[in-house]
C-alpha cells in the first residue's frame, strides 16, 4: 500500500470566500503583513498503487472546473 496526500485548492482567479474571511479576520488578531490567504483541503488515503488516483481526483475529490489538485505520494 502507498500513502497518498491530495491537496485540493480553489483555482487561481476564483474568489475564495473562505480564504477571504480568514484574511479579513487577521488585522483584528494583530497579524499584519499577511495577504492572499487561500483555504483548501487535504485528503489523505492509502491505495494499492497510484493507478486510480488521477481518476479519483477528477471524478470525486476535486471538481476540476473550480479546483486544482496535487497528488503527493508519501
Amino acid at each position: 500500500m502507498i500513502s497518498v496526500r491530495v491537496l485540493i485548492r480553489p483555482k487561481e482567479g476564483i474568489l475564495d470566500a473562505q480564504g477571504k474571511a480568514v484574511e479579513g479576520a487577521l488585522p483584528a488578531l494583530g497579524f499584519e503583513g499577511i495577504e492572499h490567504v487561500r483555504v483548501g483541503r487535504i485528503v489523505e488515503l492509502r491505495a494499492e498503487d497510484d493507478r486510480l488516483l488521477e481518476e479519483l481526483c477528477e471524478k470525486l475529490l476535486a471538481n476540476p472546473l473550480i479546483e486544482d489538485y496535487e497528488i503527493e505520494i508519501l
Binding site: I14, L60, N63
Partner: protein
Amino acid sequence: MIWGVLQFPGSCDERDALHACTVATADLDPGGGAGGTSSSARNVGGAGGTSSSARNVVGGTPGPGPGVNLRSRLVWHEETDLSGLDGIVVPGGFSYGDYLRAGAIARFSPAMGAVAEFAADGGPVLGICNGFQVLCESGLLPGALLTNESTRFICRPGELIVGESESPWLSELETGERISIPFKHQSGRFFAPPEMLAEIEVNNQVAFRYAEGQNPNGSLNDIAGITNLAGNVLGLMPHPEHAVDPLAGTTDGLKIFRGPAGSPGLTAAAGATGG
C-alpha cells in the same frame, strides 16, 4: 402528471417539493385521488392511454382536497426504476451530508444514474438548490456552485427575472417576468469558466437571473438558474417549492412546477391521457 422526488440521506426539502408537485399539477394526475388505472402521460405518449377521472380534469383547482395528485412519490436514492413517472425533482438539502463538496457524492447514487437516462430521453428534470448542485456535479448542467461570497447562509424572500431559455419549465412564464421565490442557501454562487459562461449565454440557457441589486451570493451574470441545451433539465438555486401556498407570501413557484405540463411536448400526451 406523476412526479418522482428524489430523496437522499440528508435531503430536507423533498416533502415540500412533493407537496408543490402534487398541488401544482393536481388536475393532471390521470388517476388522482380516484385511484384510476391509466399510466403516466409521458409513457402513454400518443399511444392513446386510458382516460382519467373526470373529476380531476374538470374540477382541477390546484390545492389540497379531492384534486390532489396522489400518485406522485418520493424516490429513495437507491431506486433505479423511474417508470411511470412524468417528471423528476432533485430536491434541496444536504445530500449525504455534502461533506466533501455539495452534490459531489450524490451524483454517484443509483437514482442519479436513472435520472441521467430519464433526462437523456427528454424527461423533465428540476434540480433545486442542492439538487442544482447535484445536476452540475453530474454534468447534466454546466457550471458549478461555490460558497456564497459572504460565506453566510442566507434565507429570505427574493425576486427573479425570467431568462431567455426556451424550456418546458418556463412555459407558464414570460421572458422578463418578475417572480418572487425565496432564497435559502450557503453555496449558491454560480460559476463557469469564461468560455462556458459565454456558451450558456449564447445558447439562451439562462432560465432565471436575480433581480437587479438582489444577487445574494456573487453568482456570475446574476445567474440563479440554468437549463441544459435541450431545455428539459432546469437547475435553480432559489426554492420554488417553498412558494406554492399563499401563507408563504408568494405562489409563483406553482408556475414553474406547472411548466412541463403546459409545454407543447407534454400537453399532447397529457391530453391523450385526459381523454
